[in-house]
C-alpha cells in the first residue's frame, strides 16, 4: 500500500478543484498520452475545439522541455497535474532535472529563427497565465492556466 499511501502526503493545488495527476517516464513516446489526457479533460470542461488544441500544444511543449532539459537522471519521470475548476483549468508540469537560472532565459528572435527556443514562447502566447519555478539542479515546474469563456 505504499504507493497509494503516498497520495495522502500530497496537497492539492486548490481544495475545490478536481485533481488529475499523470506521471510519465521521460521518454518521447509518452508525450502523446499527456496530449490525450489534456484534450479529454479540456474537452469535457467545455473548451471549444480551437482552445483544446491550444491546451494540448502548450502541454506538449512543457513535456518536451521536461524531457529535453529535465533528464539529468536516467530513467527519470515527470509529473503533470491538472486542476479542474469550474471556470479554470490549471496545469502544472514538474520535473526533477537540471533546472535553470531564470536570468539565462532569453526571448526568441523571430527575425532570425533558431531551431529551438520556441517552446516557452508558445506556451506564454496560448495560455492565460504562466508561471515557472526553477533553480539550477532543483528541477523545473511550470504552471499554466486557461479560463473558460474569456
Amino acid at each position: 500500500m505504499s504507493l497509494a499511501g503516498s497520495m495522502e502526503k500530497e496537497e492539492k493545488i486548490n481544495g475545490c478543484e478536481d485533481r488529475v495527476v499523470l506521471v510519465l517516464p521521460n521518454k518521447p513516446e509518452y508525450v502523446s498520452l499527456a496530449r490525450l489526457a489534456a484534450s479529454g479533460i479540456a474537452g469535457r470542461m467545455g473548451f471549444d475545439v480551437e482552445t483544446v488544441e491550444d491546451i494540448k500544444l502548450a502541454v506538449a511543449e512543457a513535456c518536451t522541455n521536461a524531457i529535453k532539459h529535465g533528464c539529468c537522471k536516467e530513467d527519470s519521470e515527470y509529473r503533470i497535474e491538472f486542476g479542474v475548476g469550474e471556470k479554470c483549468l490549471t496545469i502544472s508540469i514538474a520535473d526533477r532535472g537540471c533546472g535553470m537560472d531564470k536570468k539565462d532565459l532569453c526571448q526568441p528572435d523571430l527575425q532570425n529563427p533558431r531551431e529551438g527556443g520556441l517552446g516557452l514562447f508558445i506556451i506564454n502566447t496560448l495560455m492565460d497565465r504562466v508561471e515557472f519555478e526553477t533553480a539550477p539542479n532543483t528541477g523545473f515546474t511550470i504552471t499554466m492556466k486557461k479560463y473558460l469563456g474569456v
Partner: protein, 104 residues
C-alpha cells in the same frame, strides 16, 4: 501513440512530401530524416502537403527551420500547403508564417 507517415512524390521536377499524423518530440527525428532525404533527392523547391498533418509542435518547427536554412543557402525554397487551422495557428503565433511560404 503518436505516429506519422510520409509519402513522397516527384512529378516532373515538382517534389511533394505528404505528411500524415502527428509531429512531436517522438516523431520529429523521422520527420527530419524524411525531409532531408527529399531535399537531397531533387534540385528544385520542396512542397510539403500538410492536409493530413493533424498536429505539430515546436519540435516540428525546429526541423522545418533547419531545412529552410539549408535550402535558402542553395537558393531553393520550402512551400507548406493545405495546413489545418491548428498548424496554421502555430506558424502565425511564432511569426514563422513570414519566413515560410504557406499556401492555401
Amino acid at each position: 501513440m503518436s505516429g506519422a507517415e510520409y509519402c513522397y512524390q516527384n512529378d516532373g521536377g515538382r517534389c511533394v512530401v505528404k505528411v500524415k499524423g502527428e509531429i512531436d518530440i517522438y516523431t520529429a527525428a523521422e520527420f527530419k530524416k524524411q525531409i532531408n532525404a527529399a531535399i537531397e533527392e531533387v534540385t528544385g523547391d520542396l512542397h510539403i502537403d500538410c492536409s493530413e498533418l493533424q498536429y505539430m509542435d515546436s519540435t516540428g518547427l525546429g526541423v522545418l527551420i533547419g531545412a529552410l536554412k539549408r535550402m535558402k543557402e542553395q537558393g531553393r525554397n520550402i512551400y507548406l500547403e493545405n495546413l489545418r487551422p491548428n498548424v496554421r495557428k502555430l506558424f502565425a503565433i511564432t511569426g514563422l508564417d513570414k519566413i515560410f511560404i504557406l499556401e492555401v
